[in-house]
């Protein structure tokens, strides 16, 4: 029911100027712009939600509201390149749903977004979970906003393709199903261009705009014709052509095949990596590899592919040799760095195969659930400081194609700024203030939860 109102509001609003205060100046802090060297006691001037200037000894505009960051650290807001939280449920039940959009499932009131602001994450790409073959359309959102339209930065940026078998398929069946859909979509594309028949093309936008219902399930009356098993001998698949959902699937996949969207390809096992690389090459996809820890054995293939990499929460693991029983520590950031693979991190815990429901937004505990902690782990195992910082700011922005407007503190970019009590990669550092598009969305001294937690006589 709540979702319903969001959808209505989404239709109503297309304002962006309403976001952000007029002029804001942050002074005195140590600025880590990520795109350049640190600036001691510098000034960041923000006007109309954009960064106007970053530097030392800048004149502070007289009309600016001044935030004194003396002794503190100022850096760009963190970006989570791949998150499956913030939705009413992580995974859609049906396996082939590329036409659905996470936009219809995002719940701005979820604790996840509040937690993001508390950690200084200002932007997140919400991508469906790993339990579908083709998950729905991903979207990039700001982590603050009362309503979805305030949050939404960019919708339909890509989709999830999972190589982990779904349902009762085995890996062959999974890959065969992916190929089948992509082949069909490609064929439909060429067919269309050949006949140059201007077919009316149903788009997910249209569906979303119709406000078709409370959730993704409503659209799933019988969209899985593709999933319907072939019948031996009865090779007649003509039914597909008339099924409106088959057309929807193809239209959605066409964007992927044209390279307009990112394919987040989830690899569970090392053997999935060559498969993912092969799919990317064969279908000319804009691939991003989402790699489970075990995939490190395919690091050479990953490096050779040159594809962007998202690492799952577990970064340090122990493996025992099957013959000698010797325990060996595997440090993923180091391993990938040694192979020359730049990485980004996701802190969404992986859901076990087959887990359809559940929002995946359990309260974070200290450790791998924190984006900064992942960068700090990389730093600990030899990644240079700048590189570690980049992996949670500018690089995710590059992977998501929003580096022109976010990911670093540069004039002209959106004013996503975090003020911290100290070094961002240290355990005892607090996020003091989080600013998204020039608007303060979190202040520690107003954080009632933290206060309650740290009250000396708290029960």
């Amino acid at each position: 029911m709540r979702c319903h109102s969001f959808v209505v509001l989404l239709v109503l609003t297309s304002l962006s100027g309403a976001w952000g205060e007029e002029v804001l100046a942050i002074k005195g802090g140590k600025i880590l712009p990520v795109s350049g060297p640190p600036i001691e006691s510098g000034v960041v001037v923000i006007r109309n939600g954009k960064i106007e200037a970053v530097g030392k000894d800048l004149a502070i505009p007289p009309d600016a509201r001044v935030l004194d960051a003396t002794g503190k650290v100022v850096m760009p807001g963190l970006i989570e390149v791949h998150s499956s939280r913030g939705m009413d449920q992580t995974n859609e039940t049906n396996p082939i749903v590329p036409f659905l959009s996470v936009v219809d499932a995002i719940d701005p009131s979820q604790d996840y977004f509040e937690e993001c602001r508390r950690q200084g994450i200002t932007t997140a790409a919400i991508v469906p979970g790993n339990n579908t073959i083709f998950g729905g359309q991903a979207a990039i959102v700001r982590t603050a906003g009362q309503f979805l339209n305030e949050m939404l930065l960019k919708r339909d940026i890509g989709m999830k393709i999972s190589l982990r078998p779904t349902g009762d398929r085995n890996r062959m069946g999974q890959v065969a199903a992916i190929r089948r859909e992509l082949d069909a979509a490609r064929e439909a594309m060429t067919e269309r261009s050949r006949t140059s028949q201007a077919q009316p093309q149903p788009t997910p936008d249209a569906k979303g705009g119709n406000g078709s219902g409370p959730g993704p399930l409503a659209e799933s009356d019988d969209e899985d014709t593709q999933q319907r098993r072939p019948r031996p001998g009865g090779g007649d698949q003509a039914g597909q052509e008339t099924n409106p959902d088959a057309a929807l699937v193809r239209a959605a996949l066409a964007k992927l095949l044209k390279g307009e969207q990112i394919a987040f390809i989830y690899c569970e096992l090392p053997m999935d990596v060559p498969q993912a690389v092969r799919l990317v090459k064969e279908y000319k996809l804009r691939g991003v590899l989402v790699l489970a820890p075990a995939c490190h054995r395919a690091v050479k293939q990953v490096a050779a592919s040159g594809l962007p990499v998202v690492l799952e929460p577990t970064l340090v693991l122990w493996e025992s040799d099957p013959r000698t029983g010797e325990e060996k520590q595997i440090v993923l950031p180091k391993l990938y760095r040694d192979a020359g693979v730049p990485v980004t991190f996701t802190v969404t815990p992986t859901q076990p195969a087959g887990a359809g429901r559940g929002s995946g937004s359990q309260p974070p505990i200290l450790g791998t659930n924190f984006l900064w902690f992942q960068a700090a782990t990389a730093l600990k195992y030899g990644t240079p400081y700048d590189e570690a910082l980049r992996s949670i700011t500018l690089r995710p922005a590059e992977v998501l194609g929003i580096a022109d407007s976010r990911g670093s503190l540069e004039p002209g970019k959106a004013a996503d700024v975090v003020i911290l009590s100290g070094d961002p990669l240290k355990l005892d550092t607090w996020v003091e203030t989080t600013i998204i598009d020039g608007r303060v969305v979190y202040e520690r001294h107003n954080d009632r939860k933290i206060k309650a937690l740290l009250k000396p006589d708290a029960e």
């Binding site: 890959v175 065969a176 053997m271």
Partner: protein, 802 residues
């Protein structure tokens, strides 16, 4: 075709590392896979490919080639399995008709195939499934390699059709899958699938082929693969184990002009002669399982059928009953003898298998232009003791050596130190200990075998007195409480040359009186026993020296006796204490039991209480004060360690025997004792051993005295000491001279090993028998022959000199 060919060159840099380097493998025999073996042959490999194979005398080899002389070893091609379930672990999809599934998609390139590779299997066919009518397309892959393109030998290899019994009555399909359902998507009645009978299966296949043929050129993801056998001449792999399967498939094959590979064909209703031209290969299930006993297993593999097929000119490949048997593929192929010759049996897992799988241009035979996939065996392929020594895939060795903690050393002769000289024998070493010695020794599959055909293996030598190990000389007295074993330095410069001479255990002490430590001169010395003996001296003025020796021993004995007494009394005390505690407990229990009655007869009870006798607690024995300086004497007086007494002349020898043997009843070993030959009888009688000085053969007046020889003739046990640092390495040579001057070689050898160990009570070293430390020396010839050189030395199972 489009499969796998696209992401080529991904890791070609790995292959380029090997580029340009020519390697030559020279072996006693090379079995090319498709013909009789070549003897004394070479295999030339460059850049992962074979560039030449032939007799060593006939192949021209580039100057710069890296040569590997494999000695008696035999080279065969990497083995090929005709069918496996290594894709997805053979798990079948629920759907019966999935020709678009590709086994190569389900093959784990990063799986652990070490055990299979170690069995010599380098290439396998992976099947997309084995219990559905049309499970998909098979592929042929290698089990090792970084370049996945190079590893994909053929994909697709065949379109799989499963007849027999397995395909019948596949599970019903539920749509949507059973689980949570929504109102919009109710659970529908389940759908039956093909096929319930052979007739239905054949009819289904026929209509599918017709549909695939007629739909051309329009594309359909499911039907397209079915057209491949007709358009691309893709093989159709049919499991035809049921009666009537083969004739039925032959009709279909004729109708659509298919090329078949038959798996486990059932011969009922058909003749092999009728199979051509549609059948191009056969895969036979081996039937038996290695080492398994079961009522369902056939007694023999289908060797007669294999013979029949080979005669008919059909290539035959083998399929193990389970993937777990892959590692024994060579052994299993050997079971097809005697119906097949050895060459033919090997063909089933090499050349013929490659032909059946259509990959003969890459693997299966050792010939110029083929991939350098080969296996080095220790002997002929089907001989009983033959083991896989190394496996190469694309010219790269696969088995990482040195992983195993077990070694088998074979040598021309082995002196065990127990008086035996075994010819053509072997020693099995397991985790630093000797497990077995003999002419026929068990050969664990993981053991690393090393051959020393003309060499002699003897126990590691023991030097009963050296001066190195603590970084300098020990000229001043070392207090008895000092544990020299804890002071040994790491990497003393003398360790290496000394152990290179074959000395594997040495004794070290300060000047007498002192404790003696026994250790092994590895880089990080390992203490064998500390203390291993106590050293005394009877020198100079014998009356004062003997008095002082007596005094020392008496003090030691008093200390040892006090402890002995204490230790004897302690168990008695503990026994008493236990009894006492039990008594007290019993009393208390009795009191408690009567507690209830107490109120009834309170006063009466009180009287009784007074009467109760409290037993006397036993007195603990007095514990002597521990004195680390005297502690070693306890071992001495309990005869756990011997007293080493330095003596020279006969009178001193007699005195030492009188004091140590008769007065204090110690285990006595004399050190030095030049005059020992004169009192040989006495020494033998009193079981006194002697540690001989460096100068073993002395001139005495006009005579020459060969001390060890004289002692051995008198039946006196003796060992040797160098009393030197680096000079310790000359000890075996010095004994060699004594042998040259008349000492029996065996006595000399025993003096250096087993006798020395026995004198000191070292029971972990000294002989080559099961359970002892693996300390041994490999000699190029007979021990003590001046021409003999030390080839290798092992301490605790590790080579310390090679």
């Amino acid at each position: 075709m489009r499969v796998a060919c696209t992401f080529a060159a991904l890791l070609s840099f790995a292959a380029s590392l090997l580029a340009g380097e020519v390697r030559v493998y020279h072996a006693a025999q090379i079995w090319p896979g498709n013909g009789p073996p070549l003897t004394d042959a070479v295999l030339v490999v460059e850049d992962g490919k074979i560039i030449a194979v032939g007799k060593a005398s006939e192949v021209s080899i580039p100057e710069t080639a890296l040569r590997h002389n494999l000695g008696k070893a035999v080279i065969i091609p990497g083995l090929i399995a005709g069918e496996t379930g290594l894709a997805e672990g053979g798990r079948d999809d629920a759907v019966a008709f999935t020709p678009h599934h590709r086994a190569v998609d389900g093959f784990d390139w990063y799986g652990d195939y070490a055990a299979v590779l170690a069995g010599g299997v380098t290439t396998v066919q992976v099947s997309p499934g084995s219990r559905r009518l049309v499970p998909g397309q098979g592929a042929v892959v290698k089990l090792h390699g970084a370049d996945l393109d190079r590893r994909t030998l053929k994909a697709p290899e065949s379109l799989r059709i499963v007849l027999g019994e397995a395909y019948k009555n596949p599970p019903r399909i539920y749509e949507p899958p059973v689980g949570a359902v929504s109102v919009e998507r109710p659970l529908l009645p389940s759908q039956p699938q093909l096929a319930g009978s052979l007739a239905a299966a054949v009819a289904g296949l026929r209509s599918a082929f017709v549909a695939a043929k007629s739909r051309r050129p329009q594309s359909d993801p499911i039907l397209d693969p079915l057209a491949l056998p007709m358009t691309e001449k893709l093989r159709v792999r049919v499991s035809a184990s049921g009666p009537g399967d083969v004739p039925a498939m032959l009709t279909v094959a004729k109708e659509f002009d298919l090329r078949l590979t038959l798996v486990e064909p059932n011969l009922s209703g058909t003749k092999v002669a009728e199979w051509k031209p549609h059948v191009e290969g056969v895969v036979l299930s081996i039937g038996i399982r290695p080492g398994m006993i079961g009522d369902g297993l056939p007694p023999r593999p289908p060797a007669d059928l294999a013979r029949q097929l080979l005669v008919a000119g059909l290539p035959v490949a083998l399929k193990p009953v389970q993937d777990a048997d892959l590692k024994d593929l060579l052994y299993l192929a050997g079971q097809f003898r005697p119906q097949l010759s050895e060459v033919e049996a090997l063909r089933l897992v090499t050349a013929d298998a490659a032909a059946v799988l259509g990959v003969a241009n890459r693997v299966g035979t050792l010939a110029a232009g083929r991939d350098a996939d080969f296996v080095v065996l220790s002997g002929p392929p089907f001989a009983v003791p033959t083991r896989v020594r190394q496996v190469y895939v694309d010219g790269e060795p696969v088995i990482s050596a040195g992983e195993s903690k077990r070694r088998l050393l074979r040598a021309g002769r082995i002196f065990t130190g127990t008086g035996e000289a075994l010819s053509d024998a072997a020693v099995l070493i397991d985790h630093g200990k000797i497990r077995a010695v003999g002419r026929e020794v068990a050969l664990p599959p993981d053991a690393v075998v090393q051959e020393f055909p003309d060499a002699v293996i003897v126990p590691g030598f023991i030097d009963l007195g050296v001066t190195f190990g603590v970084g300098g000389s020990l000229s001043s007295a070392v207090p008895l409480q000092t544990r020299l074993g804890e002071r040994l330095v790491i990497g003393d410069p003398a360790y290496k040359p000394v152990r290179q001479a074959g000395v594997t255990t040495v004794l070290l002490s300060g000047p007498a009186p002192a404790a003696v430590v026994a250790y092994k001169p590895t880089d990080k010395p390992r203490v064998v026993q500390d203390p291993v003996a106590l050293r005394f001296a009877l020198r100079g003025n014998l009356s004062s020296a003997s008095a002082s020796l007596r005094e020392t021993l008496r003090a030691g004995k008093a200390y040892a006796d006090a402890w002995d007494r204490y230790e004897k009394e302690l168990p008695l005390y503990e026994q008493k204490k236990k009894e006492y505690n039990a008594q007290i407990a019993a009393q208390q229990q009795a009191r408690q039991a009567s507690g209830d009655q107490e109120q009834k007869a309170g006063e009466q009870k009180a009287d009784e209480k007074k009467d109760e006798k409290k037993p006397e607690p036993p007195r603990p024995p007095e514990r002597p004060q521990a004195n680390p300086a005297l502690e070693p004497y306890r071992a001495l007086f309990s005869r756990r360690i011997p007293a080493l007494v330095e003596v020279q002349r006969e009178d001193a020898i007699r005195l030492a025997i009188a004091i140590c043997r008769e007065e204090f009843d110690l285990k006595l070993v004399l050190v030095g004792a030049e005059d020992a030959p004169r009192v040989g009888k006495l020494l033998a009688e009193k079981a006194v051993g002697v540690v001989l000085r460096p100068q073993l053969v002395r001139a005495s007046e006009r005579d020459e005295i060969n001390v060890p020889m004289e002692l051995s003739l008198s039946g006196v046990a003796f060992g040797f000491q160098s009393q030197a640092g680096l000079g310790s390495r000359l000890l075996p040579g010095a004994v060699g001279y004594a042998v040259h001057r008349g000492l029996a070689p065996q006595d000399g050898l025993h003096g250096l090993s087993v006798q020395a160990a026995r004198l000191l009570g070292l029971d972990q070293v000294g002989t080559l028998t099961a359970g002892k430390d693996a300390d041994l020396v490999v000699l190029s010839g007979s021990p003590f022959d001046p021409a003999t050189r030390v080839l290798a030395v092992m301490i605790d199972g590790e080579w310390v000199h090679e």
